[in-house]
Each structure stands twice: as structure tokens, then as C-alpha cells.
Symmetry: C2
Subunit: 408 residues, 2 copies
């Protein structure tokens, strides 16, 4: 056996297995009720539309181009369609402001690559999306807490970043139905983040993976729309928007996009050229057809179902959770966030939940850049139907009641 | 307009536009004869097989799984099929030794990420695949020349690497019909590279993108097969094999693989989790069906056509090139490599060839880590038919005859 460790780069020390991905393996067990993954319900996929679009493609001349290499920035008709969507969100832009990625996750990886030298600082929420931390970790940053409600002086951030050996480069944030909490930033909080970014003179990475999945309440403008209002032109914004088709149309197609000022897009295109040349041509062509034919109706369809499931889960939590446990009440997305009593450890709880109760969730500490949050956990409400939600939450509630009683 | 440059990472200074990709845009011009791209002839794609496989998928239950997220290591039946192919090449291994990537290019990016800290050294050929340099550049390495015929002392390499601020991490090499020269390493050269890697205690990255495309001569074992013969077990090898479906079945599906000892695969899976979660699920399922149904016959079919085109181009070069110009005679792959008189500059030539003669190729210096090779150029022989080859080489020959006469 070769000794590989001495050949691996420094960054490899920061590469750990994702608890979420490892947990996905549990989904295969019979009777397991999993609230762990962040995955959409496959029975809701627009399968007929995809079938039809693949069929159509092979009946036209386009299928040879679909099987060939294509430009790194992405398929022009898809970028045009996305630019139209962005305009509807208050972000007027052209296809040259869009690059297609293999999911929003790839956007995060490439943005880490573009901005972060080892020792640079990224501002992230406490908690934040685990996959963003994993993507950025490869570029060896330091993290500082992004807190829109606490205006720490700019000089403090700069000083800390210098101590870490670099500079503050960006704030990362998911303003709508964030993974893992499901929470949404208020308008004031959004403006606060832009103010802070202006003062620090840094970029803002807006992760909009769940943006389309609003079930009630009033839609708020994306950070990038507010930034465009302030500056008057996408070319003057500091926000970089990462979108995804994974939560609306299909994650298995692996398609998302980055929308930003052209100098950023041009650099990202060079990164993509060097990293995987282009996202699957055929998938981009098919996604264009499917998005055009059913994006709005598909969003309406899944929003109806997911809203019901969220309501089921909220009602089940009310019924089954003991006192001392609180949770978020998200207006959209895929997740609820539970706070257990301070002394409890959700990771430890997961072991028992899986082995004794056949229920899975994701322990909260993985979402904290500082490893705190051990008494929190994330529940996904989109992948199980009402019966399983009732069953799973009831089992979890009984287990927690037992533990809370012991702790008290 | 934001000033972005001060926010970009150090590595962004090493990200330049690919001349090859920029040249792809020229392909759209009418009457342009392009020997520039490294792309297969789309008219040879197994389009019927892909059509059938997509159709079949949507008629079975599998299509919902095809549209869903999947494991980062890749679709098991595809990894099993690839493991069988690797065994046929003299590399007995299991599916746990395989990770699916979005093309071999992604394998190179991830291997750069895994091995290279800024200042580490990679050994590469002079010339070597431009896309490998671009992938590795993101991790800010130094390059030293890998030359199987010149045994520079190990101490020299270590000393140079230290001066560059790191250690020697791997040798990168494409032993069969390498891009850009089309040349193949002899058995002695292959053993020499493994000897050198043993002495240096470094990894060997074997880029096998063109491996299946042999038109004549005798097949030689891949580096990894020789390494397996030496060590007796894939788990003891230092070679990492990057394969691709892009040159055989379809580049637009964006699928390739890495084959290596399990500790390397496990790290690569973590990198992939953090970078794009998984390669397109549906594409992996369809590629499995297509590979099983027609891989061998497809390789036989394209090899027949590409062999003829290579022969046409070689014959045309004999007819049209003036004295003082030499070229490689590859036994496979997609490229010929021309050496012009020392004083000539192929980049300058390209400008005239494109604007005056409607002929495109890739100037050689892009393939040299030190920027040398200005008197070399790469010709692709797979994407044009015999008539265009004759026309293009004749135009190029006339232009060169004119220039060589002036130089002399």
C-alpha cells in the first residue's frame, strides 16, 4: 500500500465526508423514515416533459450538436431564458451575464476558486449551508460570522482577516428559505448585508437554490435586485447570484447558473474551461425545452405539495414535541430547524434515532463553521408524504420527550 | 463598474483564455477549414444508440432515479462496466477503484486539487496537453520537464521543487497518441517514467483520453498496467488513470472516470461531493446502456474512418509541404504535430492562415509550460473529411512554401 498522505495538498486536511451524503446511504434501508436529505420528491419530477424533450431532440437535427462539445459559458438559448427569469426578479441582464454550471454547487466551488487564496476570509452565517463550507474549504479560507443584525465595525473584520493571513473577500448568504434553517431574511436584513459589503468592499454571493419555492408570505427582492436598484446597472453590482434547476425541475440533470457582472462571468468561464470544459450539452438543450414548457406550472405543482407537507410537519411537531424544543416556521424551501435544550447533542441523538426508531435527520453542528450548534438539527419536509411525516415526527417526539425528561 | 481585481485570488493571474476554445468560435465561419479543435466528427456519434437508450430509460421505472441526485462516486453499473474494461487493459480492479467524472478534464482538475499546494511541482512533457496545464494552473504549481529519455538526477528535481516553495507531487503524461503530438511512448519510456516516479516517490497521472483510438502498430500496456505488474496489486500502484468517453462515444454527455487505489478514490469522492455533488445521473445511466451495447463496434467504426483521415493528411503533407518542415506519424488519436524552421512563429502564421486562407490550427507554444515551441503547430485530422483535408493542407503548404522561401 502506497503512503499517499505526504503527497496530498495541504487543503486535503480540510476535506471531510459530508454527513448528509453519508446519510443518503441510509435511505435505502427498508422502513427508514428519512428527514435527512435535501432532495426533492422524485414522484413530482416533470418526467413526461423530460421524456418528450429528449424524444424531440433526437427527431431534429440538433441531436448531433447535443452529443458534441460546446462553449464553456453554456447553451445560448438556455442563458437567454435564464436572463429573462432574472429580469422578472428585478435583475435586468443579458445572456453574457449568465454562465451555466453543473448545479449551484459548482457555482460555489468556482467562486471559491476565483476569490479565495489560502488565508482569505469568507463571511458566512452561523449556521450556513454545509455544502458551501465544503466547497470553500478546498481553498483554505478563514470564516467570520455574517450577522445582519449585529453591525460589527468594518475595521474589526479587516483586522481579523489580516491575522488569518489574507483579506475579506465575500459574504455568502442564502436569503430565501436558507438551508438549513428554512428562514428568510427581512428587507432590512438584506439591505444591511449590502451595506456591510459596501463598507467592506467585498463581493456578495447570493445562493438562491430555494428562491422559487415560496409557499406563503410576500416575495422579497433578491439581494442582487436590491443591489441593482442601488447601483442602477448589473455591471456595477457586487452581488453574484447562484441559481439551480435542482429543486424545481431535476437535480439529476446537474444544471444551475451564475448571474453576475461580465468581468466575473468572464473569469468563471475560464475556470470552467480549465475544470470541465462545459456542462453536458444535451442536458442544457433538453433543460431549455423543459423550462420553457413547464417551469411555472412545475413550480406551482411542487409548491402546493411541499406547502402541505410543511404544514403537516409543523402540525406534527406541535402535537409530538415536548416542551423546551423550538423550531423555525419557514415560508418556503425544504427545511425546518429544531433547537433542543442547550445540553443535548443532536449527533448523539441521531445514532439512537436511526438504530432504535428508524428515523434520520441531520445534526446541526455540521452547518456551523465553528462547530457549534450541537443542540440543533435539520428536518427535511419535502421527501416524505404526510403519513411518514406523522410517523417519523411522532417517533422523534417520543424519543425527545424521554431525553428531555432525563435532562430536566 | 466594480473593481474586481483586488478581490480575486492569486491564482486568477494564471487563468488565461484557451486558444483552442477561442478558436472553436472560428468553426462557425463558412468555408473555414479547421484543423484546430480536438473534437470528434459528430456524424460518427452512435446517435441511434443514444436515442434508444434515452427512450428505454423513460419507459422503465428507472427514469425517476435518473432525474434525481445520486452518489458522488458514480453509478455503480457504469463503474462495474469500466472496471471490466480496465481489467481487459491489464489493470484488475473493482468498482471501488473507479470514480465517474464529468470528462477526463474534471479528473485532471480534481487531481490538481488533491495533490498541489501553491509552489508544489508537477512534471509534464514539453509539450503537453494544454488543458492539463490549465487545470493544474489553478493550484499554482511550478512545472519541471518530464523527459523519459533524459535521466536527470532525483536530487536535482527535489532541489528545484524546494526552490519553488514545495515538493514534487506527480508526473503527468499521456502515453498513447498524446495531445498535441500524437506520439506514443515506447515500452522502455513507460518503464522509465515509472522508475523515475519510484525514485522520486511521486504519483503518476496517466491521461488515457485517446487510448482506445489505435489505428495501427501494436498496443502497449498502459502505465498503470505496468505499475500493477510491478507491484502486484492496484492498491500498491502509484499511477492514477484518467479515462474518457468523449473521444469514443460522446463528449456532450461529459463523462469520464478516474481509476486508482482506493485511498485516492476516497479523497476524490470527497472533492466531487464538495465541487458538484455528482455527474449527471441520467447521463451515467444512458452511457452505461450505450457502452454495453456498442463500445467495441463504435471504436472499430471511428478508428476505420480516422485512420483513413490520418493517412489522407499524411499523404497531403508529403505532397504539399516544402522542405524544412517535419511532422509526427501517429499510430492513433486525433493529432499531427508539425515542426517549422526554428525562426518561424506559428501564432503569427495562424493569423494569416485564418484571414487569408480560411485554415485554422493550434500554434504550438500553448502546449509548452515554458512558452517555448513557437515554431510548432498542431493539426487535428478527425473532424474534416478527405476533401477538406486535401484543400486545407494544400493551402497551408502553399503559404508555408512562400514563408520558408522568404526565411531562407
Amino acid at each position: 500500500m502506497q503512503d499517499w498522505d505526504h503527497l496530498f495538498a495541504n487543503r486535503s486536511g480540510r476535506m471531510g465526508a459530508s454527513e448528509i451524503r453519508e446519510l443518503l446511504k441510509l435511505l435505502d434501508q427498508p422502513d427508514m423514515i428519512s428527514f435527512a436529505g435535501g432532495i426533492p420528491d422524485p414522484s413530482l419530477f416533470p418526467a413526461e416533459e423530460f421524456k418528450h424533450a429528449f424524444q424531440q431532440l433526437f427527431e431534429k437535427d440538433g441531436h448531433l450538436a447535443a452529443l458534441q462539445y460546446s462553449v464553456s459559458e453554456g447553451y445560448l438559448p438556455l442563458r437567454e431564458w435564464i436572463a429573462g427569469q432574472m429580469a422578472d426578479l428585478g435583475i435586468p441582464c443579458g445572456p453574457d451575464n449568465i454562465m451555466i454550471t453543473s448545479g449551484a454547487q459548482q457555482g460555489l466551488d468556482y467562486l471559491g476558486k476565483l476569490f479565495l487564496s489560502a488565508g482569505d476570509t469568507a463571511l458566512v452565517g452561523w449556521p450556513t449551508y454545509l455544502g458551501a463550507l465544503q466547497a470553500f474549504n478546498a481553498y483554505e479560507p478563514a470564516y467570520e460570522r455574517l450577522d445582519p443584525q449585529n453591525n460589527r465595525p468594518v475595521e474589526d473584520f479587516h483586522a481579523s482577516a489580516k491575522v488569518s493571513g489574507g483579506a475579506v473577500k465575500f459574504a455568502y448568504c442564502s436569503p430565501d428559505f436558507a438551508n438549513p434553517t428554512g428562514e428568510t431574511l427581512s428587507l432590512a436584513e438584506r439591505q444591511g448585508i449590502l451595506d456591510q459589503a459596501d463598507q467592506l468592499d467585498i463581493a456578495v454571493i447570493e445562493d438562491a437554490a430555494y428562491q422559487a419555492l415560496r409557499y406563503d408570505g410576500e416575495a422579497l427582492p433578491p439581494l442582487m435586485a436590491l443591489d441593482t436598484q442601488r447601483t442602477g446597472d448589473i455591471e456595477k453590482t457586487r452581488t453574484i447570484y447562484c441559481g439551480s434547476f435542482s429543486k424545481t425541475l431535476s437535480p439529476g440533470m446537474r444544471l444551475g447558473w451564475v448571474c453576475a457582472a461580465k468581468p466575473v462571468i468572464r473569469k468563471l468561464v475560464l475556470i470552467k474551461q480549465a475544470a470541465d470544459l462545459n456542462s453536458s450539452t444535451i442536458n442544457q438543450m433538453v433543460m431549455t425545452a423543459v423550462a420553457k414548457s413547464c417551469f411555472d406550472s412545475q413550480v406551482a405543482k411542487i409548491s402546493g405539495v411541499y406547502k402541505e407537507r410543511r404544514d403537516h410537519m409543523l402540525a406534527a411537531l406541535e402535537r409530538h414535541m415536548p416542551a423546551g424544543i423550538s423550531w423555525s416556521r419557514p415560508e418556503g424551501g425544504m427545511f425546518l430547524w429544531l433547537q433542543l435544550p442547550e445540553t443535548m447533542d443532536a449527533a448523539e441523538l441521531l445514532q439512537r434515532a436511526v438504530s432504535e426508531q428508524n428515523v434520520a435527520f441531520v445534526p446541526g453542528h455540521a452547518f456551523f463553521a465553528d462547530g457549534s450548534g450541537r443542540n440543533c438539527l435539520r428536518l427535511n419536509f419535502t421527501s416524505c408524504g404526510p403519513e411518514k411525516i406523522e410517523q417519523g415526527i411522532s417517533r422523534l417526539g417520543a424519543m425527545l420527550a424521554d431525553r428531555v425528561a432525563k435532562v430536566a
